[in-house]
């Protein structure tokens, strides 16, 4: 690892100020960034740890009935405390492994936008609002392709607000080595329709499967999606499965998520 300075600000304002420095980078739980730095694939001059900022931690309910999660809240806390949104709590409990869940944070995961990560599917399926130090971004506008988001340089995720669906479920098919999602599908049914978000599958990162959403909004049952077919063309093809296989799995996982959510 290259040498850098590490600071641990205790307020969002101090963190934002620290990130203004050239080549400064935010450190969430570090569960992806630290392995990347070990490979010397990242060389920040300064790491700004977001782990000591009390106002960025915890789970609460907003007046509008949203589940609000501080950007530096570890997955284990979400899993235990986001009881008002069981589908989300369940998803958080499937990320990584227990020790990773004690360190990894929701803000870090969303900002990284790994195409196989779980949280992007939750944010997109729930239509979450990503709150940063400077603005609020709708999940639909946040994810811009593999490892790309609409975050600006130095902008940090301070909170994520999840509208709570009537029912929801995240169905994850494990990539057997990394334990990320080979395919993960989050289905969330709201009064005004169903949202389906897919992770792990597309070369463009997490996406909404609109065709399934329409079908499920009309008929919320696994049968409604069983005949839908996705193309494998823009799906990830690697050691663990072809694009065609992933496309097939999206269909299967969607059906299972609906069944589990019903």
């Amino acid at each position: 690892m290259y040498e850098f300075d590490l600071t641990r600000p205790t307020t969002i304002a101090d963190a934002v100020a620290a990130l203004n420095e050239e080549d400064a980078q935010a450190l969430g739980g570090g569960q992806t960034l630290i392995p990347t730095m070990k490979q010397r694939l990242a060389m920040p001059s300064k790491l700004v740890s977001l782990g000591a900022i009390p106002e960025m931690k915890g789970v609460c309910m907003s007046d509008a009935g949203e589940v609000c999660i501080g950007g530096a809240t570890p997955h284990a806390v979400v899993s235990a405390e986001a009881t008002a949104f069981p589908g989300l709590a369940d998803l958080a409990g499937q990320i990584g492994d227990p020790a990773v869940r004690n360190r990894g944070t929701i803000g870090g995961s969303l900002a990284n936008n790994d195409p196989s990560a779980c949280y992007p599917a939750a944010a997109l399926a729930a239509g979450a609002t990503i709150v940063t130090n400077s603005r609020e971004i709708a999940a639909d506008d946040f994810f811009e392709g593999m490892f790309e988001t609409s975050l600006e340089e130095g902008e940090i995720i301070t909170e994520v607000r999840f509208p709570v669906p009537e029912v929801s479920h995240y169905e994850k098919f494990l990539q057997p080595a990394s334990r990320f999602a080979l395919v993960g599908v989050m289905v969330a049914k709201f009064a005004d329709g169903v949202r389906v978000a897919v992770t792990g599958a597309s070369e463009n990162g997490v996406f909404r499967w609109k065709e399934a959403e329409q079908a499920l909004s009309a008929n919320f049952s696994a049968d409604a999606v069983s005949d839908l077919a996705l193309s494998g063309d823009e799906m990830i093809s690697d050691l663990h499965g072809s694009g065609e296989y992933r496309a097939h799995l999206v269909n299967v996982m969607t059906g299972r998520a609906v069944k589990a959510a019903s």
Binding site: E3, Q39, F173, P176, A177, S178, L239, H240, S242, H248
Partner: protein
């Protein structure tokens, strides 16, 4: 041999808990990387990021000027020293010896696989060394990589220009049987043919390799602490072949070693480099591999592409097995890499069967990939997989129950010693009895109901069975010498009785998880009638142990344990002489029982402790007849391999929608002969099963066309985890003792990894076929994607 009260006394047959556990459970184990020497420096290697390339130039001047940098080595510094040799000479069918290109300490002239080290930096800290490695300017011209074995054999690019071929050898076994086998197959009423891949694996001992070298300029002595399964062999290779350091000036210590599975048998260039650097700097030099380095540079395992044919009568009586295999040896020959696909593979190609004709052809192929060598089972899993898959396929073609087809052809208990058609003499076994046990363990009668239950849940259920035999206890010197081994394969032990009556037993085997510190004292305690707690095992240090050939090939107990027995017998013989003197009786009248030497037919006796004391305080001692002291050494070289065997079964569920396979039940009935510590033996089987199931289902080593390793970390190489595996049913009671070693024991370390892959694949094929799909074979690993693809037709 196990006694009724074994558990109480902790002797042979007792499931004694392990004494080494205390230090491991409290964080007090001492592995190589845990050692810090005064003044220690750090080595980091510059490794090729291309699979095949010409080293045009290496400019180290900038790097040399960086903070903390003490020395930089390149291949140029080692042109005058020897290469790391292959331990077995294999001759091709035409009598030509195998091709042996030099394997240098650091790449010189060419780099031949991704990860091949071409330079090393020694610096005050690891980070400084790493920084300097990045500053080395290496001009390496990339050449097309030779990756696929078929293309490598066909010609084109060369891994080693000087040998003008990528084929290391083209070996036939037994060449004289070739014509008869061909004729038998041609005339046979039924032939089943199967082409299969035995997938390449990365051993992945949890402790990455590490080495620390120390040099004493005052005495010109070197000490190497290293992650080795056999420190004496490492010393021998460094002394006799690579650096030429005299053996009496080189001490090799393998402290606690965190697993090996074959990958730590071999000498690696990093060990030679730290030794050379320690001498140059006159300071200790340490190197510890990252896991990423381990993936690129540890010797990999398996990687065979095979066509096997089974010829039989219509009633299923076997007539012949004929095999053609291409075996990947990677970019350089590793120490056992030429033995693994040949004598550890071809000689097992008769399996447990009375088949009269066997012929095996193996082409070993150089490619621009990491070296491939013995990995848990080493050749025998490849043999078992080929045989047991083709038998299963044959059973389906003939409509014969797969268990019945095996039973029909098993060697029967009254046929031992049995000369197999592949050239080995099996000493003992009872394969039908194991199969009986297996059918009960797996509850074969309940399978139909369990299958129906799975189907109700939308899953396909399959039952797979397998029988295996292996040759292990790797030795004997005379036999392996004929087969091409350049070393002897015996082992040694010294039993030292201290004056106060406790014992130190120095053994040439090396425990890196096998529990020798517990099991070997059980043997000695049983023979002497003393408390096992009074006996300590010393291993892993060439300065403390007479000699040894280490631990691999399921040999520790069968070979080194036998040396322990022989040395203990010598102790008893001498102690009886001393006791006879003390008791004023004839030596022939002295009996040893429960730690007491007594005169037969009298109540006169002295304890073992009193005899020990007398040996070291020899007052009134017949020094004309008996030397003082009580210490004996024995070397043991067996007459034959040992032949463990077993029958395995498993039940899997296949999710037809995703292709995901779940192992629901697994049963193993093994014959390891006599058992010293059943708890440890069971643990060995469990571990082998975990690795074998991993090979069958998830472990996949893949290089792309340019020679980049795609599965280069735990992000892409799937290691079996707790939730991938079931509880196992294991039974190794009532074994048939080995007939030629004094303990009657057979090796148990590799069995699980040998017997389980075909069991799993057979079960998956059974499950898929139960869903009405015409799938006869799927290549390992049976990942969800592969199984799903197969089911799509």
């Amino acid at each position: 041999m196990p006694k009724d009260n074994a558990d109480e006394k902790g002797g042979i047959g007792a499931a004694t808990t392990r004494r080494e556990d205390f230090r491991f459970l409290t964080g007090a184990g001492q592995y190589t990387d845990d050692i810090t020497l005064q003044g220690q420096t750090h080595a980091v290697f510059a490794r090729s990021d291309v699979a095949n390339g010409v080293i045009k130039s290496i400019d180290t001047s900038t790097a040399m000027g960086m903070p903390g940098v003490l020395a930089i080595f390149t291949g140029e510094d080692f042109v005058d020293v020897g290469g790391n040799p292959a331990g077995w000479l294999i001759n091709s069918r035409d009598g030509e010896p195998m091709k042996e290109p030099k394997r240098p300490v650091l790449a010189h002239g060419k780099v031949r696989h991704v990860g091949d080290a071409y330079a090393a930096v020694i610096a005050e800290t690891k980070q400084q060394a790493q920084d300097a490695v990045e500053a080395i300017e290496a001009d390496i011209e990339e050449l097309p990589a030779v990756i696929d074995m078929a293309s490598a054999v066909a010609g084109g690019g060369l891994v080693h220009d000087e040998i003008e071929t990528n084929v290391c050898f083209d070996w036939g076994w037994i060449e004289d049987n070739r014509a008869a086998t061909d004729a038998a197959i041609k005339a046979a009423p039924h032939v089943t043919t199967l082409e299969l891949v035995n997938n390449r694996l990365v051993p992945n001992a949890m402790e990455p390799r590490a080495s620390i070298a120390d040099y004493n300029a005052g005495t010109d002595e070197y000490t190497l602490y290293t992650t080795s399964q056999n420190p004496h062999l490492t010393r021998l290779l460094i002394s006799a072949f690579v650096l030429g350091i005299p053996e009496n000036k080189l001490r090799v210590v393998a402290p606690d070693v965190g697993g090996g599975f074959g990958s730590k048998i071999y000498h690696y260039g990093e060990e030679a480099l730290v030794l050379a650097a320690a001498k140059k700097l006159k300071r200790p030099v340490k190197w510890t591999a990252s896991r990423s380095e381990a993936f690129l540079t540890d010797a990999h395992g398996r990687d065979h592409v095979t066509k096997i044919e089974l010829a039989c009568e219509k009633d299923g009586t076997f007539i012949a097995f004929r095999t053609e295999t291409m075996a990947n040896v990677g970019a350089y020959l590793s120490n056992f890499s030429t033995a693994t696909p040949t004598f550890l593979h071809g000689t097992l190609m008769a399996g447990n069967y009375t088949v009269p004709n066997v012929y095996v052809n193996v082409k070993a192929v150089f490619t621009n990939t990491a070296p491939v060598d013995a990995y848990r089972g080493a050749g025998r899993p490849e043999a078992t997989y080929s045989i047991e898959r083709v038998i299963d396929m044959c059973a389906r073609e003939l409509g014969i129950d797969p268990i019945e087809l095996r039973r029909k052809n098993f060697v029967k208990p009254d046929q031992y010693p049995f000369a197999s058609a592949a050239g080995l003499e099996y000493d003992s076994g009872n394969y039908d009895a194991q199969m009986d046990k297996l059918e009960a363990l797996i509850d074969r009668d309940g399978f139909a109901a369990r299958r129906a239950e799975s189907e109700k849940n939308g899953k396909l259920r399959g039952l797979g069975v397998n029988a295996y035999i292996e040759a292990c206890g790797i030795a004997p010197s005379n036999l392996v010498g004929i087969l091409g081994s350049r070393v002897g394969l015996y082992d040694a032990a010294t039993v030292r009785v201290n004056a106060t009556g406790n014992l130190s037993v120095m053994v040439g085997a090396h425990s890196h998880g096998q529990g020798h510190e517990t099991a070997f004292p059980q043997v000695v305690a049983d023979m002497l009638g003393v408390d096992p707690a009074s006996i300590d095992i010393v291993h892993g240090d060439t300065a403390k142990i007479p000699f040894g050939m280490g631990t691999y090939g399921s040999r520790s107990l069968a070979v080194c344990g036998s040396a322990v027995v022989r040395a203990t017998e010598k102790i008893i013989a001498k102690a009886k002489k001393i006791a006879a003197h003390m008791l004023e009786a004839a030596e022939g009248d002295i009996e040893l029982s429960d730690g007491q030497f007594s005169v037969a037919g009298t109540d006169k006796s002295v304890s073992f402790g009193e005899v020990a004391l007398k040996a070291y305080i020899p007052h009134q001692f017949p020094i004309e007849d008996i030397e003082p002291g009580l210490e004996e050494t024995a070397f043991y070289d067996p007459a034959n391999f040992t032949y463990p065997s077993g029958a395995y079964a498993c039940e899997v569920e296949v999710d037809p929608e995703t292709g995901k396979v779940t192992v629901e039940r697994f049963a193993a009935a093994d014959d390891f002969g006599n058992i010293i510590n059943p708890m440890i033996v069971t643990g060995q089987v469990h571990g082998g099963l975990g690795q074998g199931i991993g090979q069958a289902l998830i472990e996949q080593t893949a290089y792309d066309e340019s020679g980049q390793l795609l599965s280069a970390s735990y992000m892409d190489y799937a290691m079996p985890r707790a939730d991938d595996l079931p509880f196992y049913q294991v039974d190794h009671s009532d074994g048939t003792p080995c007939t030629h070693n004094p303990l009657g024991v057979k090796g148990c370390g590799e069995a699980g990894a040998i017997g389980s892959p075909p069991t799993v694949v057979n079960a998956v094929v059974d499950a898929i076929q139960s869903g009405g799909m015409d799938v006869t074979h799927v290549d390992m690993p049976l990942t969800p994607a592969r199984v799903w693809n197969a089911m799509q037709g």
